[in-house]
């Protein structure tokens, strides 16, 4: 099975603190990698390295055998990265935010109303997002996962502020994605409540 993502010897230094050194990880299609660690251990920094947002201080990241630097465009097209922040503008409505992403990622037209209905946001699509609760905003932010066609997902704390029902819904989406040969990297504090047979975990130690 060809590796989607392989990182070797990764090290990351932020503001003179060594977050991690000589880190290796591998991800194959259909696998879910859960990265765990205390706050400040470097989980977000690791995800940003893997998403190609920053370059590692040591080591490299290979996607399908090629270094990221040599295939920035293709890698970005194969990736859906949802970071710590929401990625939505609070003065735009949910519909407008989705329209923005569709344009930005050049996604085909879909029925956004239906999607928002599925996410439990029916009736809220024309309100500016700042009027939505934190959980509802997070659901708008995660709506991209239903729009994207990218095989590799990198998600930073996606379950934040979600209620139980939404958490289940999201994990169902994970199952769907993995079944079609996609791969997911997730950081989360909570243990995943559903069962994922292809789950791998990586623990980042908190270093002084």
């Amino acid at each position: 099975m060809t590796d989607f993502l392989r990182a070797s010897g990764l090290s990351c230094i932020r503001q003179d603190r060594v977050l991690f050194q000589a880190l290796d990880l591998e991800l194959s299609p259909g696998q879910l990698l859960q990265i765990q660690g205390k706050n400040g251990a470097g989980k977000s920094s690791l995800l940003r390295l893997l998403a190609g947002l920053s370059t590692p201080d040591d080591g490299d990241v290979l996607f399908c055998g090629q270094p990221l630097a040599l295939q920035a465009e293709q890698y970005a097209a194969s990736l859906c990265y949802i970071g710590h922040q929401s990625g939505i503008h609070e003065h735009l409505t949910a519909m407008e935010n989705l329209a923005f992403w569709r344009a930005a990622y050049q996604l085909p037209f879909t029925d956004n109303m239906d999607l928002l209905g599925q996410l439990g946001l029916a009736g809220l699509e024309d309100m500016p997002c700042r009027m939505l609760s934190a959980g509802q905003q997070r659901r708008v932010s995660l709506a991209r996962l239903w729009l994207t066609q990218a095989p590799l997902w990198i998600l930073d704390e996606p379950f934040t502020a979600l209620d139980q029902h939404a958490i289940q819904r999201l994990q169902q989406r994970f199952h769907q994605h993995l079944a079609t040969g996609g791969a997911i990297i997730v950081t989360t504090h909570q243990a995943l409540s559903q069962d994922f047979p292809t789950l791998k975990t990586l623990e980042l130690a908190y270093r002084w």
Binding site: A76, G83, A103, A104, P128
Partner: protein, 219 residues
């Protein structure tokens, strides 16, 4: 894509009117300060008018510059665009266009008011409108550059102004020179041509620098 992004920017500006009304108000207030500071003598004001208008324009655009990337950076939208490597350039162009439409173009529209306040006469007034028309886009481009460089900096606001001022000096020199030449009845197409040249050069180079700055700030 640029049109979609531009529409988004204009919608946001419509919903947050302070973001563009405040700079315009600021422009008028600064304009009022000058006669109060140097005296209302009409001849003196007429001579100083080109400088006053262009300095007030700069200050007003700088005030608007701070908000350019602030919300999108805070919300992680910039991060998304950088990660996707697709929409970044179009996004930058839309920001410049929206900034000009909301902050630069109103200055052009207000120039009759300015001419009245400072006693600028017909030939110089035409020159003033033309320099504003050609120069405010350049001002928008420079302010987007400053905003991008200082996007994730602490206390970025005043730093933005400090960075942009030296880059602004050529525009200031040639724009005011054009208006002065017009008020003396001399031709000023040369000065205008240089303004156009600077604008084209900025259009060619600055978006790349802005995209680079956004990528660095998000890394």
């Amino acid at each position: 894509m640029v049109m979609t992004f531009l529409r988004r920017e204009l919608v946001l500006l419509a919903r947050q009117k302070a973001d563009w009304l405040n700079p315009l108000l600021f422009f008028l207030i600064v304009l009022t300060l000058f006669p109060l500071g140097v005296g209302p003598e009409p001849n003196q004001l007429r001579i100083m008018a080109p400088g006053i208008v262009w300095i007030a324009s700069l200050l007003s655009v700088l005030l608007a510059a701070e908000r350019l990337f602030r919300d999108d950076y805070r919300n992680g939208v910039i991060e998304q665009l950088v990660a996707s490597r697709q929409g970044l350039m179009a996004f930058v162009l839309a920001k410049v266009a929206a900034n000009w439409l909301s902050t630069g173009l109103p200055l052009v529209v207000m120039s009759p008011v300015v001419a009245m306040l400072l006693g600028v006469e017909s030939a110089a007034f035409v020159a003033m409108m033309l320099t504003l028309l050609l120069g405010t886009p350049l001002l928008s481009i420079l302010s987007v550059l400053g905003a991008a460089l200082t996007m994730s900096a602490d206390k970025g606001g005043i730093l933005l102004a400090l960075l942009i001022l030296p880059l602004y000096i050529p525009l200031l020199i040639f724009a005011t020179a054009a208006i002065e030449a017009a008020s003396m009845g001399l031709p000023y197409s040369g000065q205008l041509a240089i303004l156009v040249a600077m604008l084209l050069l900025a259009l060619a180079l600055v978006p790349l620098a802005v995209a680079s700055a956004l990528r660095i700030n998000v890394s």
